[in-house]
C-alpha cells in the first residue's frame, strides 16, 4: 500500500489527505494530522474522494462524434480535427470561446485562458461557476478594492465573534463548520444570518432571520446599530469623518432591534472576528449589494484588516479562486488583473509573444448561447449555471463542441470531440483554496487507457494554435504562471518541496481603510414582491451532479434516491404551512407566480419559517416555469 499526499478536490477549504493505492490502484484515503487546514480531519466527501476516480464512468480514449456516431480515435486524429474545425470557424469570423472550470487545476485553467486569448484570439473565456459568484465578488471589490483581503480558516477557531451570512456550512464547507464549532466550544459568539435554520444557526448565539430577498435589511440594520453604538467614540471604527457621516445618512432610518444592537455590541468589542460570506447564487444585483454591505460591515468595525480577523468567501468548489486568479473570466487576465490594465496586457503579450484582443468577451451563459465553437474544460455547464437545461439546449446548437474531462458527463455526450484527461487523483497540478492557499495535487495512479494530464492536452492544443511552449511537466506550466501572475511568483520553491508544501498567497497587508461612498448600504427596492409565500431557489451548487459525488457509490445515494423519487422536482415548506394548506408530505400543490405555474409534490422541512418555500438548486429546471430566471419569487399556493 502506498500513500500520496494530495489536496482534496471537493470544496474550497482545501483540506489535505493521503490517497492510498494498492497494486497501483486507488483504494482509499487516510487523513493527515500535519496538514495546515485539515489537521487530521476530513468530511464525507474527503473520506470518499477516491471513489469517483475509481468507480466512475471514465473517459480513456479520444472520441470523435460524426453524424451521431462516436468513434475512438488517436490523439493526433483528434487534435487534427479540432484545430481544423476551430480554425474554419475563426477564419469565417464566427465566435469561439473557452470555458475553464472551478474543478480544474491552475495549470489547466491558465493554459485554457492562454489558448483562448493567444491561440484563438478571443477574450471569450469564463468558467461556469463564475455566473454564480461574480456578483458577490463584484460587491466585495467595490468595498475592498481590487484585492479582497481574506483571513485564514484557522483564524475562525480562535475568533471571538463569527458572522455567517446565508450559508449552510455543515453541507457546503464542513471543515469551516468544524472550526466554527471549535470557536463556539470556546465560547465565541456565533451570529448567523439567513432564512434557513441551518445546523450552524441552531448552534448560534444569535440567529438573525431573513426573508429571501431581504437579507440586505439585516445587514443595513447591523451597520446602523454599529454606527449608533460608536457614534461618540469612533476610535475602533474603520470609517471616519465624512465617510462615517455618509454611511450614517444611508442607514440611520433603518430599524434597529435589540437583537441587532446585541450583535453590534459583540462585533465592536471583539478583538478577532471572522466574516463568512456564502455564495448563494442570489439574483445578481441583490447578491452584489449584499456582499458590499457585508464587507462594509467588516470594514466599518475594523475587522477587515486586523490580524486574526477578516473575511472568507465560501465559494463552493475547490478551485474557484484559482480559476479567477488564472484569469479565466471575460474581463480579467492571469493574476486577476483587469483586461484594460495596459501594464498587465503588455506583460502577457511579451510572455506569450502575441498581440492580445482588447474587447471583453462573453460570460458563460451568453457564450453558450452565442458561440459557434466552444472548448469546455472539465465541467458540465448545465448542472452548474443558473440557466440549467437551457444551457444544454444552447450547446446542442453549437457547430463544434470540444470537451476535456475525466468523467462522462451530459456535456461530454454532446461533444463533437472528447479529449480524456487525468482526474485529480492522477495528475500533478495546483489548486488555490478560499484562503488563497496554493496547494499541490500529486498523482497517485495512472489515468485509464490513453488519457493524459490536462495540462499536457491543453498545452498541445495551444501548440496547434501557434502558441506553443514545450511543457514537460505541470511544474513547467507553473513557472510560466509565476511570470504571468506576479502574485503567484516566488512560491514555486515552496510548492516543490516534499511534504505539505502549501503557499499562502500574500494577503493584502495594506488593505486600504474604507473610503465609503454612498451606495453600498443604500436602499434597494427588492424586485421580489412580498407575497403570502415566497419561493426561493436554495443554494448555488448541485453536488449531486458533480462527478466527485455522482460517481461515488457512497456519496451519491441520497441524491440518486431523491432524483428517482421526485423526477419532476418538489417544493419544501415548514410543517405549519403544510398544516395551513391541509397537506402532508408527498401531496401535490400548484405554485403560481408572475412567470407561470407548476404542480409539484411537497416535502416538509423543520428549518424553514412560515411563508418561505424552497426548491433545491438541483431542481431549478423542474420549477423553471415558476421561478423564471429569478432566485426568489412571490408565489401563491393552491390545491392542484
Amino acid at each position: 500500500m502506498s500513500a500520496f499526499a494530495t489536496t482534496c478536490p471537493s470544496c474550497s477549504c482545501g483540506c489535505g489527505f493521503y490517497l492510498l493505492t494498492s497494486n497501483g490502484q486507488l483504494t482509499g484515503v487516510a487523513p493527515s494530522e500535519n496538514h495546515p487546514v485539515s489537521s487530521g480531519k476530513l468530511c464525507a466527501r474527503g473520506w470518499n474522494a477516491h471513489e469517483a476516480a475509481l468507480c466512475g464512468q471514465r473517459l480513456s480514449r479520444p472520441l470523435l462524434r460524426t453524424n451521431g456516431k462516436v468513434e475512438s480515435v488517436s490523439w493526433d486524429e483528434a487534435f487534427d480535427q479540432i484545430s481544423r474545425r476551430l480554425k474554419e470557424l475563426t477564419e469565417a469570423g464566427r465566435s469561439v470561446g473557452v470555458l475553464g472550470s472551478a474543478r480544474a487545476t491552475n495549470e489547466e485553467n491558465y493554459l485554457a485562458g492562454k489558448l483562448a486569448r493567444a491561440g484563438l484570439h478571443t477574450n471569450n473565456v469564463d468558467f461556469s461557476y463564475h455566473s454564480l459568484c461574480r456578483p458577490l465578488l463584484a460587491g466585495l471589490e467595490e468595498v475592498c478594492g481590487e484585492r479582497i483581503p481574506t483571513t485564514s480558516l484557522n483564524d475562525i477557531a480562535s475568533s471571538q465573534l463569527i458572522f455567517l451570512f446565508e450559508g449552510n456550512l455543515a453541507e457546503t464547507h464542513p471543515r469551516a463548520a468544524s472550526l466554527v464549532m471549535k470557536a463556539v466550544e470556546k465560547r465565541a459568539f456565533l451570529v448567523t444570518i439567513g432564512y434557513r435554520m441551518t445546523q450552524m444557526a441552531r448552534l448560534s448565539s444569535l440567529h438573525l432571520v431573513t426573508t429571501p430577498g431581504n437579507e440586505h435589511e439585516v445587514i443595513r440594520g447591523l451597520l446602523a446599530a454599529v454606527l449608533e453604538l460608536r457614534r461618540l467614540d469612533r476610535r475602533l471604527l474603520g470609517v471616519h469623518g465624512e465617510e462615517y457621516e455618509a454611511l450614517w445618512r444611508d442607514v440611520e432610518r433603518v430599524d434597529r432591534t435589540n437583537a441587532l444592537r446585541q450583535a453590534a455590541e459583540w462585533i465592536t468589542r471583539a478583538e478577532r472576528a471572522t466574516f463568512l460570506l456564502a455564495c448563494n447564487g442570489g439574483e445578481g444585483e441583490q447578491a452584489r449589494k449584499d456582499a458590499a454591505a457585508f464587507a462594509t460591515l467588516a470594514a466599518v468595525t475594523g475587522h477587515l484588516n486586523r490580524r486574526g480577523s477578516g473575511l472568507l468567501v465560501l465559494v463552493a468548489r475547490s478551485n474557484v479562486r484559482g480559476a479567477c486568479d488564472m484569469g479565466v473570466t471575460p474581463e480579467r487576465l492571469p493574476g486577476y488583473e483587469r483586461l484594460d490594465d495596459e501594464q498587465a496586457r503588455q506583460r502577457l503579450q511579451d510572455l506569450w509573444d502575441r498581440k492580445l484582443p482588447r474587447d471583453p468577451g462573453y460570460s458563460t451563459e451568453d457564450l453558450l448561447q452565442s458561440a459557434s465553437g466552444l472548448i469546455v474544460l472539465a465541467d458540465d455547464p448545465p448542472s452548474v449555471v443558473p440557466m440549467g437545461q437551457q444551457a444544454m439546449a444552447a450547446m446542442e446548437k453549437l457547430d463544434y463542441l470540444v470537451v476535456l474531462d475525466s468523467f462522462v458527463t451530459p456535456t461530454v455526450q454532446k461533444a463533437h470531440a472528447v479529449l480524456p484527461i487525468a482526474s485529480f487523483a492522477e495528475t500533478e497540478g495546483t489548486l488555490t483554496n478560499m484562503e488563497g492557499r496554493v496547494q499541490r495535487l500529486r498523482a497517485a495512479a495512472n489515468p485509464p487507457g490513453i488519457a493524459r494530464a490536462g495540462w499536457q492536452v491543453i498545452g498541445e492544443l495551444c501548440a496547434r494554435f501557434g502558441v506553443g511552449n514545450s511543457y514537460t511537466s505541470a511544474n513547467d506550466v507553473f513557472s510560466e504562471i509565476a511570470r504571468a501572475a506576479p502574485r503567484y511568483a516566488g512560491i514555486e520553491q515552496r510548492l516543490s518541496a516534499d511534504g505539505w508544501s502549501t503557499a499562502l498567497l500574500a494577503n493584502v497587508d495594506d488593505a486600504k481603510s474604507l473610503v465609503y461612498t454612498s451606495g453600498a448600504a443604500a436602499v434597494t427596492e427588492s424586485p421580489c414582491a412580498r407575497g403570502p409565500y415566497v419561493l426561493v431557489r436554495d443554494g448555488s451548487f448541485d453536488w449531486g451532479h458533480d462527478p466527485l459525488v455522482a460517481f461515488s457509490p457512497t456519496l451519491s445515494r441520497d441524491y440518486q434516491s431523491e432524483r428517482k423519487l421526485f423526477p419532476n422536482g418538489f417544493v419544501e415548506m415548514c410543517q405549519r404551512d403544510a398544516d395551513t394548506l391541509n397537506l402532508s408530505a408527498g401531496r401535490v400543490v400548484r405554485l403560481r407566480s408572475v412567470h407561470g405555474h407548476a404542480v409539484v409534490p411537497i416535502k416538509v422541512r423543520r428549518d424553514l419559517k412560515p411563508g418561505v418555500l424552497s426548491v433545491p438548486y438541483a431542481f431549478r429546471d423542474e420549477l423553471a416555469s415558476v421561478l423564471g430566471r429569478d432566485s426568489v419569487t412571490a408565489v401563491s399556493v393552491e390545491a392542484p
Partner: protein, 346 residues
C-alpha cells in the same frame, strides 16, 4: 515462552522478517505523519511516535476490497473469488490495534465465516510494542485493550531500555523468531519483573480518571438515554464518518461492482452508519433519517450490553482516534461522559 532481544539486534531480525513476509510497520513520510506502510528496509521503521491516525485495519480489511471477479463470455458468465494469500507481518503496532484486529477477526469468524477476510487475517503475524507511556487521547484501560496485552498478539515487545522483552503468544509468533534464534535469549527474572513494573506504571498514568463505560453502557443498553440528549449531541456532529473509518473495530461496508463492458470486480467498500443513506431503502423510506438516530445506533454498537454479550468483547479499544478525527465535537469519551451525566456541554 518469554525471550529478550538487544535493541541493536532488531535490525538483523527485521532483515530476516523481510525475507519471509510483506512487513508493514510505522513509517514517517515527507509530510511528517507516521503511517503504516510496507517497508523495504529496517531503517524505515519508526519507533518514536504514539500511534498513527489511520489504524492498520486496512491490511486485513482494505477500504476498497476486491472480493469477486466477474467476466462475461458471450451469454455465459465466469465468476471466481479473489484470493489474497499474501503473508504479511504487522510490526511495531500498539496494543489497542492488535485488539482491534482480534475483534474484527471474531466478527468475520462468526457464522457464516467470511473466507475473504480470514485468508488475510490467518496469514497475518502481529508483533506489538506495549505502551510504557500511554498516549494522551487513549483510554485503553477502560476497554481492556492496553496498555499491555495478555492475548491477541503473536509477539508482544516491551521496551526495557537497552533491550526488548519478547513475549510469544502463538505459533505464528514462535516462527517469527525462528529465523534468527541466536538473537533471542531467554528472559531473565529481572527482565520479566521489569515488564510487570512497567505495566503497572503505565496503568497508573491513567490516574483516577476512569472512562465511565460501565454506567454509560447500562443506560445505552436499557434505552435510558433521552432522545433529547441524542438530539442535542447530534447537532455537534458533521456526519463525516471519520469516527467509523478510523475505528479499529468498525467494519461496516457496502458492496459495489466496479468495471464495465463484461468485466467487473465486486468490491467491498468501507461505509459509515453515520451517513444518512446507510439505511436508505429503495422505496425512499429511511428508518434512521434523523442524525440523532444514527448517533444512537453507533453508540449502541460500540457500548451496549447486548452487543457485548453477543461478541464477548466491548466494541471499542480505547485508542482515542475518534477523538482526534471528529470533525465536530462528538467523540466517544465526550458522548459517554454526557450519557453518564445526563447532560451535554459542548
Amino acid at each position: 515462552m518469554t525471550y529478550a532481544i538487544e535493541k541493536r539486534d532488531v535490525t538483523e531480525w527485521l532483515q530476516k522478517l523481510l525475507e519471509t513476509a510483506e512487513v508493514i510497520a510505522p513509517v514517517r513520510g515527507p509530510c511528517g505523519d507516521v503511517l503504516f506502510s510496507t517497508v523495504r528496509s529496517p531503517e524505515q521503521v519508526v519507533w518514536d511516535f504514539q500511534n498513527t491516525l489511520p489504524p492498520p485495519k486496512q491490511f486485513v480489511l482494505p477500504q476498497t476490497d476486491p472480493i469477486i471477479k466477474i467476466k462475461r463470455n458471450g451469454e455465459l458468465h465466469e465468476i471466481e473469488a479473489i484470493y489474497d494469500d499474501t503473508r504479511r507481518l504487522l510490526f511495531n503496532i500498539r496494543s489497542c490495534d492488535a485488539k482491534g484486529i482480534a475483534f474484527l477477526t471474531r466478527m468475520y469468524e462468526m457464522e457464516p465465516a467470511d473466507a475473504s477476510y480470514l485468508r488475510r487475517a490467518y496469514n497475518l503475524t502481529i508483533i506489538t510494542l506495549a505502551c510504557n507511556i500511554p498516549c494522551s487521547l487513549g483510554f485503553c484501560v477502560c476497554a481492556g485493550s492496553g496498555p499491555f496485552l495478555s492475548d491477541s498478539y503473536d509477539v508482544q515487545l516491551t521496551d526495557l531500555g537497552e533491550s526488548y522483552l519478547v513475549e510469544v503468544g502463538s505459533e505464528k509468533g514462535e516462527s517469527a523468531l525462528s529465523g534468527v534464534p541466536n538473537l533471542f535469549r531467554e528472559a531473565t527474572k529481572d527482565q520479566v519483573s521489569q515488564r510487570e513494573r512497567l505495566e503497572a506504571e503505565a496503568k497508573n498514568q491513567f490516574g483516577e480518571e476512569t472512562c465511565h463505560f460501565a454506567s454509560a453502557m447500562r443506560r445505552i443498553s436499557t434505552g435510558r438515554v433521552q432522545d433529547a440528549l441524542w438530539e442535542e449531541m447530534s447537532e455537534w456532529c458533521l456526519e463525516c464518518g471519520g469516527c467509523n473509518l478510523v475505528c479499529p473495530t468498525c467494519y461496516c461496508f457496502s458492496v459495489k461492482d466496479l468495471g464495465s463492458d463484461g468485466s467487473w470486480t465486486r468490491c467491498r467498500m468501507w461505509d459509515s452508519c453515520q451517513y444518512a443513506a446507510f439505511t436508505l431503502e429503495a422505496s425512499g423510506h429511511n428508518p434512521r433519517a434523523e442524525r440523532r438516530q444514527r448517533m444512537k445506533r453507533r453508540f449502541f454498537h460500540k457500548a451496549s450490553a447486548q452487543y457485548y454479550q453477543r461478541d464477548c468483547a466491548v466494541g471499542c479499544v480505547g485508542c482515542g482516534r475518534c477523538v482526534q478525527v471528529c470533525l465536530g465535537a462528538t467523540n466517544l469519551p465526550a458522548v459517554v461522559g454526557a450519557i453518564r451525566k445526563g447532560k451535554w456541554n459542548a
